[in-house]
Structure formats: C-alpha cells, structure tokens
C-alpha cells in the first residue's frame, strides 16, 4: 500500500521534472539542432534566396568551390577568409594569452588589495563597451591625424609619419588585432587571476623555503599548476577570435580595404545575406562549425588528461 503510494508520487514528480525541462528542449531543438542540421543540408544545394524554383543539388560542389585554389587570389575567396581568420586569431590570441598571464601574475603578487582591485576593474573597463563603440573610438584614434600616429611617432621618434592604420593591408590587420586585444585583455587577466588564486599559497612557501628564485617558482610551479587554466583560456580566446565580426564590419563599412580583414563570419554575412547565396554561405558555416568543434573537443581532451591534484 505505502509502496504503491510512494511510486505514485515518484511518477508524478517525474512528470513535473520533465514538464520543467520541456521549454528548453523545444527551444534548443528549434534554434540549435534544427539550424545546424539545416546548414549541413543547405550546403549541398545551390540555394538562392530570391529564386522560387527548388534549388539544384550540387553535392560537394559548394565545398569544392570554397577550397578551389584557382580562386584563392580573388579577394572574396574563402581561402583568403581562412587566411584572414587564421592571421587574426593567432595574431590576437598569442599576445592576449602571454600578456594577460604576465599581468595576472604581476597583479596577484601585489601587496595592496586596493591596487589589485583597482587594476582589475580598470583593465576590464574596455570590455563593457560594445564592439561597435570600441571600433568607433579606435577608428578616430587611427585617423591619419589621430592619436595613433601621434603615440607611435613619439615612441619611435619618427615625427610626421602616417602609419596608414586603416589603409595599408598589413596595418589594417594589426589595427583589428589592437582593437580586439584592447577590448578583451582585462577579461583574460581576470580569468588568470582566478586561476592563480586557486593555487594554494603553501606550495609557494614550501618552494621559497627550499630556496627557489622568483623565476624558478614561475616556470617550475606556477605555470605547470596553471596549465588547466592556460588551456581553457587559450581555447576560449581562440573560439572568441574565430567568431569576430563587428570590428571587421565597422572598418570595412568605413572604407578600409576588404580582402585583408574578410574573416569567415564576415564572408558568410556578405555571401549569404548581401549576395543571397545561401547554399554557399551554409557551406562556409559548416566549415566554421567544424573548426570550432575540433578546438572545443581538443580542449575537453586536454583538460581531462591534465587534471592536476594539489
């Protein structure tokens, strides 16, 4: 009797639990799983937005076109986008990682709590501005008469030189990296400070008693113990960089040349939305998805095998 009643309650409970989960289940099915499946499906067709006729099946045609080496020279080619994305990602995430780690170690070792807090907040402030605002500020700084030239010329003692921040193909890529670096540096400093705080201070004390120098402590103790955070932060930074869009969009719409900064997301936008080649844009989306998926899986694999016990 009692058992039966208990099972009844449990069943009712199970029903409520499922009911609570249903809204999310519906949402993610409709707005995550369906679209990604649809992207794969559409990438095999020559789908264009305006044509009413059913799209022609291309098989791998869209992908072959994307990776066609004969098109690589074209400024709108996907191979160029892969290059632009790779250059941007490496050029942004490597300085981000190294400098944010350095700053985090410096800040963590400060004696004054107030200074620690102040620096974290100050470094983080650019992150609260939207990407569009960040790009707008820097576009004025990078104006030929702007602060960018004034600073660099004062530092390098090259008065009156215009560094063509938004015109020269190489400088333009550097500019996007500077903007991105500026916006995200504080965010990664805080991630590292959190990681550093989780290392028990007794380990440092033991090392110092054993006579280890500051450099030794960093390379032999801090860095290995921080490895999970380093892996996490680098993958997050890379994923973030692969998704960059607003900075490149702002620079391009304000007259900067397109090819050097035609990153994958920007190419998807132009191809799919402005030119309405939905099939081709879907193929690009699938490549982007696979790239990011591989990175994420790599992160899982590394963090799983690198669990550190203190």
């Amino acid at each position: 009797m009692g058992m039966k009643k208990y099972r009844g309650i449990e069943k009712k409970q199970a029903r409520w639990g499922f009911l609570f989960v249903v809204p999310s289940l519906l949402f993610f099915s409709l707005f995550s799983f369906y679209p990604i499946i649809n992207a794969f499906y559409t990438s095999f067709f020559d789908k264009r937005a305006l044509s009413k006729a059913p799209p022609a099946f291309l098989g791998l045609g869209n992908y072959i076109r994307l990776f066609d080496p004969n098109r690589a020279a074209s400024e709108l080619s996907f191979l160029n986008s892969l290059r632009a994305t790779l250059v941007f990602t490496v050029g942004t995430f490597v300085p981000l990682l190294i400098i944010s780690l350095l700053l985090a170690v410096f800040i963590s070792n400060l004696g004054s709590r107030k200074a620690k807090k102040f620096l974290q907040i100050a470094y983080y402030t650019p992150a609260i501005l939207s990407s569009v605002v960040a790009a707008t500020i820097w576009m004025i700084i990078f104006d030929p008469r702007g602060l960018g030239n004034q600073w660099v010329n004062a530092l390098m003692n090259t008065p009156g030189v215009d560094h063509r921040w938004l015109v020269d193909p190489v400088m333009e890529q550097v500019s996007t990296m500077v903007i991105y670096f500026w916006k995200y540096i504080g965010y990664f400093v805080i991630l590292f400070i959190t990681g550093l705080a989780s290392i028990p201070p007794t380990i440092y004390e033991a090392a110092t008693i054993d006579g280890a120098g500051k450099g030794q402590v960093f390379w032999r103790i801090t860095l290995p113990l921080l490895k999970p955070t380093v892996v996490l932060v680098s993958v997050m930074a890379m994923l973030q960089c692969l998704k960059t869009f607003s900075t490149q969009y702002m620079l391009y719409t304000n007259g900067a040349p397109r090819a050097p900064i035609n990153v994958i997301t920007f190419n998807i936008y132009i191809t799919g939305i402005q030119q309405q080649y939905l099939g081709r844009a879907s193929a690009m989306s699938v490549v982007l998805f696979i790239l990011m998926l591989m990175l994420t899986l790599l992160q899982f694999k590394t963090t799983k095998s690198e669990q550190v016990e203190y």
Partner: protein, 282 residues
C-alpha cells in the same frame, strides 16, 4: 615583512608594465569622453589636448537628433533596451526552470537531455545564422521584436549555471513545502527562484550585455530604420559623410551609459569568477 617591502628593480619593472597597460586600457575611454565635448577642429589637432576648450553640447544634440533630425536614436536605443531586458528575463526564467528540473527531479532521459543541451554550446551562433535567417524569412518576422528576440530566449550556459547552483539546494526545503501542500510550480516560483539571486544577477547581466553588444543578428533581421538597434545606429551614424568625430563620440558615449551604470553598480558580478565566462551568443 621587511624583505617584501624592499624596493627592487623588479618591482619598478612590474609597476611600469602595469602603468603602461593602465594607460593603454583607459586612454581610449577618456578620449571618447573628452572628444564627445569637443569641436571637430580640436579633436583632430596635433598634438591632442585632453581638456575640452568648452563644452560643445551640439555633439550630443547631433548624436540624438541624427544628421536628418529624425531622432531615430531614441527609438533605436529603446529597441536595444527592450530586446536586452526581455532576453535577460526569458533567459533567467527558462534557464532556472530547466536547471531546477534537471537538478531536483528524477525522470527518464534526464541525463540525455542535459548532455544534449550542453552539446548545443558547441554550436556557435555564427554557424547557424544563415538557417536562422531563412526561418525568419519563412515566418515573415523580419523587422519585428519577435525576430530579434526569438533565437536568444535561453542559453545553454544559463541552464548549466542554474543546474550547478541548484544541485546543492537543500531538498528538505522542497519536501517541507510539499508536505505543506504547495504545488510544484508554486515551489519553483516562491522558494527556488527567490533563492537563486546570485546566479540570476550574473546570468541577467550576461544576457543583457550580449544583446546590447549584438550587431550581427539585428543586421540580418532589422532593415527598417525603426527596428534597428543601437549598434546598428552607431555603425550607420559613423558612415554618414557629414558626421563629425565629436558627434560620433557623443553617440558612442550615450550608447555606453547603460553598461557603465550596470558595471558601476554591480561590479562584483562582472569581475567575480563565473561572470566572466561569456555566453555562446556574444
């Protein structure tokens, strides 16, 4: 103690690096603020003087009225506020409901559902925006709030955070409420939700700012001036030839005020541990 207070060469290097970085992060923001008050010829003067000669209110009038005097800025700002606040609310509600269901109830397929939701974190928005755009066209919801909001109703990261938080929630409270005859939904609404305030704060800030910062999706959905959001306004305002730099900085500053206010009043939720993980739809 004496040893650590000793000023060494190392310390000086550390302070120089930290100070240079401080200059680098803060000067562009100070530049935005002081340029927003300047006349055009003062902004582009070499060398740049940081103190405005006089407060030039014309910049702010231009930023709000627009070059064509339509005051569409006000509408675009309200659109952004409405979308961001709505997304923050729906994310908190749906994520907490789901997180509660996954954390405190046993039912068939619970783990599968949780893993499925977590798996969606690996699907970046940028990779599904084309299919989502086709859905919007099919449903004819371009240029509507529904179109702007629908793909962001809840985030997998939100569900994850809520579930983690609620797993440690004492089950005795829930059972006591059940004995008192409270309904299951009432328990969620009156006991579970009010007790998740730290996560709710973190999650709503995260959702709010990801929409406040969103340029890509509104570009796909909103073509009419009335339905554009504030990032779109700033990008097209910067584009217009006759816009001067002072007015651009005034618009940028005005658009940043809501985030500045949030940041100043809720700093710990921005800086504190979990708040720094961005949601997938950034």
């Amino acid at each position: 103690m004496q040893i650590s207070k000793k000023i060494s060469v190392n310390n000086i290097v550390v302070w120089i690096v930290l100070a240079v970085m401080l200059l680098f992060t803060l000067t562009p923001i100070i530049f935005m603020i002081s340029a927003s008050m300047m006349e055009r010829n003062q902004i582009m003067r070499m060398p740049f003087s940081w103190i405005p000669e006089s407060f030039n209110s014309e910049n702010f009038i231009k930023a709000v009225a627009g070059n064509d005097q339509t005051f569409i800025f006000v509408r675009n700002l309200s659109n952004s506020l409405f979308v961001s606040i709505t997304v923050a609310i729906t994310t908190v509600l749906i994520a907490s409901l789901t997180g509660y269901g996954l954390a405190k109830f046993r039912f068939r397929g619970r783990n599968t559902i949780f893993i499925m939701i977590m798996a969606t974190m690996m699907i970046p928005f940028e990779a599904i925006m084309i299919p989502l755009y086709m859905v919007v066209m099919m449903l004819r919801i371009q240029n509507t709030y529904t179109g702007l909001i629908l793909p962001f109703l809840v985030s997998a990261f939100g569900v994850f955070q809520m579930r983690q938080y609620l797993t440690t929630f004492p089950t005795e409270f829930l059972d006591a409420a059940r004995v008192d005859g409270m309904g299951e939904f009432g328990i969620y609404w009156r006991i579970v939700l009010p007790n998740c305030m730290p996560v709710i704060a973190t999650l709503s800030i995260l959702s709010f700012r990801s929409q406040w910062d969103n340029l890509l999706w509104p570009l796909l959905v909103s073509q009419s001036e009335k339905m554009k959001t504030i990032p779109q306004y700033i990008s097209s305002f910067a584009l217009e030839r006759n816009t001067d730099e002072g007015a651009m900085m005034a618009a940028a500053l005005l658009a940043s005020i809501p985030m500045f206010v949030l940041f100043m009043s809720l700093t710990k939720y921005f800086i504190g541990g979990s708040a720094v993980y961005e949601s997938r739809k950034g």
